[in-house]
């Protein structure tokens, strides 16, 4: 048996490592380890509740919008307000634009290098100026640095990488993918420009506040947003989706690798003034049937996490103290459980919940893709299923975003007003691009008495539960074939397909006080 450590898992947000045991060429055991801790919730206590909106966005620079939305929603609840129409639509518009940014970034700049052979650029003989410049750069790097002390970093940051016979061989496909890698840099930035138009700046939006946003929608900003949306939509429909299909055709075994079948979605993109209906609906799938979501069934367990406080507590009672040297613990991530079960969250969870829940648009897109591969729904519970789910979400969102844009009331107030109450509490549930995200707050004397976040990466990258049952990523890794334990790219592919964000996952620290009681919707 070979113990293989993948540390660091790069091309994700933050510090994650994975330890796998390989036997007869397959993964037989896996440990997912979060390697960074900051202590956000300790820092939040005693501050102005509205500060939480800015501070929690700094949990993650890749999905600050998600934390800003979750925080705004829990502040809304604690302050007893709901956003006005513009506020709801503008939040949806900045949030959905960041979905596009995040999914495009994930596929092209984080995941693609596990499949695409970047060295194919050396064989390029076409006429595209950008690609020729890239080719000449790579050639020059290899020539100039040959034998030098810094030879190890020639063609950085793309090399060095895991070497072996596991990249795409088709030259045209590789070249197209490299061209799209470069094009996608521009597209993800355009999506960020859309975020900035109504969010003020990005990353770390300045314009999210309880009740909505601060930017009044002007006619010119709407026009500019629409123009950018059209460009990104074209890229999604004509390039992104086709590239996902091309990778899936080249690696169809990954429909069977990295499998998982428990799914949870909180629902996202509010579609009614009461904030109870969502564009992507909420629900739970336990591998057998779809169930109604009930937030009182959430627990966090810490037997294998580096905290020395009580286990199996609801986030309301979160009591967690860091213990870097706790015996038997191997990660800074807690193990969230829903009704005792580990749950995958993220684009695949949303797509599965909506597919089974009768969302006609989602069903149509999923069925169309399944037809391409002559596969049934079972195929989506996989590494490739996760990549496909992101592309499908982008396509559907683009269509809906035009309608949100059309519904804006130009020049009108972008938010409801609020006053910070002496006392209050609230729950803010939403979906980050990478999955279910919840914030909980208790306000006392107009200050934060307690604040708790349960984030997507904790759900899927968390460790074993108190019962010893593996977390979703750990479980999904089991059975993964590893051709060369010194270059375990297959395991990296499975882990990256979840789009981990470790900064999000390990911020959690609580005092020894109950977070209070909440009304559960």
């Amino acid at each position: 048996m070979a113990k293989v450590l993948l540390d660091p898992i790069t091309r994700i947000e933050g510090h994650l490592s994975i330890e796998i045991d390989v036997q007869n060429g397959r993964v037989v055991d896996a440990k997912s380890k979060g390697d960074m801790f900051r202590g956000f919730e300790m820092i939040l206590k005693g501050r102005n509740p509205v500060d939480a909106n800015q501070i929690t966005q700094r949990i993650c620079g890749v999905c600050p919008v998600s934390h800003g939305i979750a925080s705004s929603k829990c502040l809304d609840a604690a302050f007893g307000i709901v956003p006005n129409k513009n506020g709801r639509l503008l939040r949806n518009l900045v949030f959905s634009a960041n979905y596009l940014q995040s999914h495009i970034l994930h596929f092209y700049h984080l995941a693609a290098l596990d499949y695409v052979d970047i060295t194919a650029i050396l064989k390029y003989n076409g006429s595209d100026k950008k690609l020729l410049a890239l080719r000449d750069w790579a050639k020059n790097e290899l020539e100039v640095k040959k034998g030098r002390q810094d030879a190890i970093t020639a063609v950085a940051p793309f090399l060095p990488r895991y070497e072996g016979d596991f990249y795409i061989k088709d030259l045209d496909l590789n070249i197209a993918a490299i061209a799209h890698y470069v094009q996608a840099l521009d597209m993800r930035m355009k999506a960020h420009q859309m975020v900035a138009l109504f969010g003020g700046r990005v990353p770390h939006l300045i314009g999210l506040v309880p009740g909505g946003v601060t930017q009044v929608p002007t006619r010119s900003a709407i026009r500019q947003y629409r123009k950018l949306l059209k460009q990104v939509e074209e890229f999604v429909n004509e390039v992104y989706i086709n590239d996902v299909i091309a990778v899936a055709k080249a690696y169809s075994d990954y429909f069977k690798i990295g499998r998982y079948t428990n799914f949870l979605s909180y629902g996202v993109f509010e579609e009614n003034p009461e904030q109870t209906e969502f564009f992507f609906k909420r629900g739970v799938f336990d591998g057998k049937k779809l169930q109604e979501f009930d937030s009182s069934k959430i627990r966090e367990q810490v037997r294998f996490a580096r905290y020395n406080s009580g286990s199996n507590l609801h986030p309301y009672q979160g009591q967690t103290n860091p213990d870097p040297y706790k015996a038997g613990a191997y990660t800074w991530l807690k193990a969230p459980r829903y009704d005792g079960m580990p749950m995958e969250v993220g684009p695949l969870a949303r797509v599965v919940v909506n597919y089974l829940g009768g969302n006609a648009d989602v069903k149509k897109e999923v069925d169309a893709l399944l037809k391409v591969f002559n596969a049934d729904i079972d195929a989506v519970f996989s590494t490739l299923g996760r990549h496909a789910a992101r592309a499908i979400e982008c396509k559907l969102l683009c269509q809906r975003m035009y309608e949100w844009l059309d519904d804006l009331e130009v020049g009108e107030m972008p938010r409801s007003t609020y006053e910070i109450p002496d006392k209050g509490q609230g729950e803010g549930l939403t979906e980050a691009p990478r999955g279910a995200l919840g914030h909980w707050i208790v306000v006392e004397d107009k200050k934060i008495a307690n604040y708790q976040c349960v984030v997507p990466t904790t759900w899927f990258c968390g460790p074993r539960g108190d019962d010893g049952k593996l977390g979703p990523v750990e479980q999904a890794l089991l059975g993964t074939p590893i051709a060369d334990p010194r270059n375990p790219i297959e395991a990296a592919r499975v882990v990256r397909s979840f789009d981990p964000c470790i900064a999000c996952a390990v911020h959690v620290v609580e005092g020894d006080k109950e977070i209070g009681t909440f009304k559960i919707c």
Binding site: L5, D7, P8, R11, E13, G14, H15, S17, D35, M36, F37, R38, G39, I43, K45, N48, Q54, I55, R58, I59, G61, V62, P64, L134, W137, E141, D150, I152, T153, A156, P157, P160, R161, Y162, E163, L185, M189, H192, Q193, A196, L197, G200, R201, V202, P203, I206, G207, V209, T214, Q215, V216, P322, M413, R415, T417, E419, R486, N487, P488, A503
Partner: protein, 334 residues
């Protein structure tokens, strides 16, 4: 790669650069960038970061990020972008440490935990898990230049903020300068820092050496003027028109905008290619480029000045009278 003067100024991303960079520099720039072999190596370490600085770097326009990493620098190690995983990635750092390389600039994003190395670890060397602090100390002592990007690496930022009840910090998070008291660290603060600030400063170091720095070691060319001085709402301030709610027209000072005390050129530069600005969008400046962010003593980020009578005493009489009027009639509730 060659740059004409206009292109160079674009790279520096500043109108003020026209003053700061004479044409002789442009010639030097051409010569330096023509040879790939002379592209300076950059090792970028993320410690207790959220990766927001790196995401902001991706929003670089003119030149775009692809041009920056293929023509201006050689980005030897960057955890979010590098092709390698595990050992294939970490061997770059290991090699740099073991061969005592001295031919690189070290950029650090994120604060550094000092209470325990376990609070942030990156890969292993010789079978031992290595803390971010250890990598940074080993690499930093040999680096040509030390650059801290973002508020966490420059001043501590949010991971370095105080626990209100105890005044302590959960992980002993410190900025890069604390690890190297005898070396000059170039600080590029901001939460996030604008990509022009990061690329422009780097290029200045490569071509002309250390840029002129202020008392917090921030490049003056980007942090020398306050938000207030260049704010699109400055005329409102001068005429005594103050917003009572976020998003309204008028100066945002009474809503707690920190623009008067914050060195930053965002009002003229704008985010993601000039799409919007912090004060322009109606939110007010949160002072993220200044050392006290986000604590500001016990003030915090958001504070409505009408909330306290004590503050009323310290205000300019003209503003104070506006506040009194508002308190009697209107509401400032955010």
């Amino acid at each position: 790669m060659s740059l004409n003067r206009r292109e160079f100024l674009k790279v520096m991303g500043a109108t003020t650069a026209a003053v700061a960079f004479p044409s002789v520099l442009i010639q030097g720039c051409k010569r330096a960038l023509q040879k790939a072999s002379e592209r300076t190596n950059v090792i970028w370490i993320q410690a207790q970061s959220c990766s927001g600085c790196s995401v902001s770097l991706l929003n670089k326009l003119e030149p775009d990020i692809a041009t920056v990493i293929t023509e201006y620098i050689s980005l030897n190690y960057h955890q979010t972008l590098c092709g390698g995983t595990g050992h294939a990635a970490i061997q770059v750092l290991e090699n740099a440490v073991k061969t005592n390389r001295k031919d690189f600039i070290l950029i650090v994003e994120g604060s550094i935990p000092t209470k325990s190395d376990e609070y942030c670890t990156i890969g292993e060397m010789d079978g031992r898990i290595i803390g971010a602090r250890e990598w940074i100390e080993k690499l930093g002592k040999n680096a040509i230049a030390l650059v801290a990007v973002g508020s966490c690496a420059t001043f501590g930022g949010i991971p370095g903020a105080k626990i209100r009840a105890t005044g302590d910090n959960p992980t002993g998070a410190v900025p890069l300068q604390k690890l190297f008291p005898d070396k000059k660290v170039i600080n590029i603060p901001g939460c996030p820092p604008h990509p022009d600030w990061m690329v422009g400063t780097l290029l200045h170091v490569l071509l002309k050496g250390m840029p002129e720095l202020d008392e917090y070691n921030r490049p003056l060319m980007y942090f020398g003027t306050t938000v207030h001085e260049k704010c699109s709402r400055l005329p409102d301030y001068k005429r005594g028109r103050f917003a009572k709610h976020w998003g309204e027209e008028g100066c945002l000072y009474l809503l707690g905008c920190l623009g008067m005390d914050t060195g930053c050129d965002i009002p003229t530069r704008g985010w993601v290619g000039g799409m919007n600005t912090c004060t322009g969008c109606g939110s007010g400046c949160i002072g993220c480029t200044e050392p006290p962010f986000p604590d500001y003593g016990n003030r915090g980020i958001y504070k409505h000045l009408v909330a306290s009578n004590d503050e009323l005493q310290t205000l300019h009489p003209e503003i104070a009278s506006t506040v009194v009027k508002l308190k009697n009639g209107g509401v400032i509730n955010g």
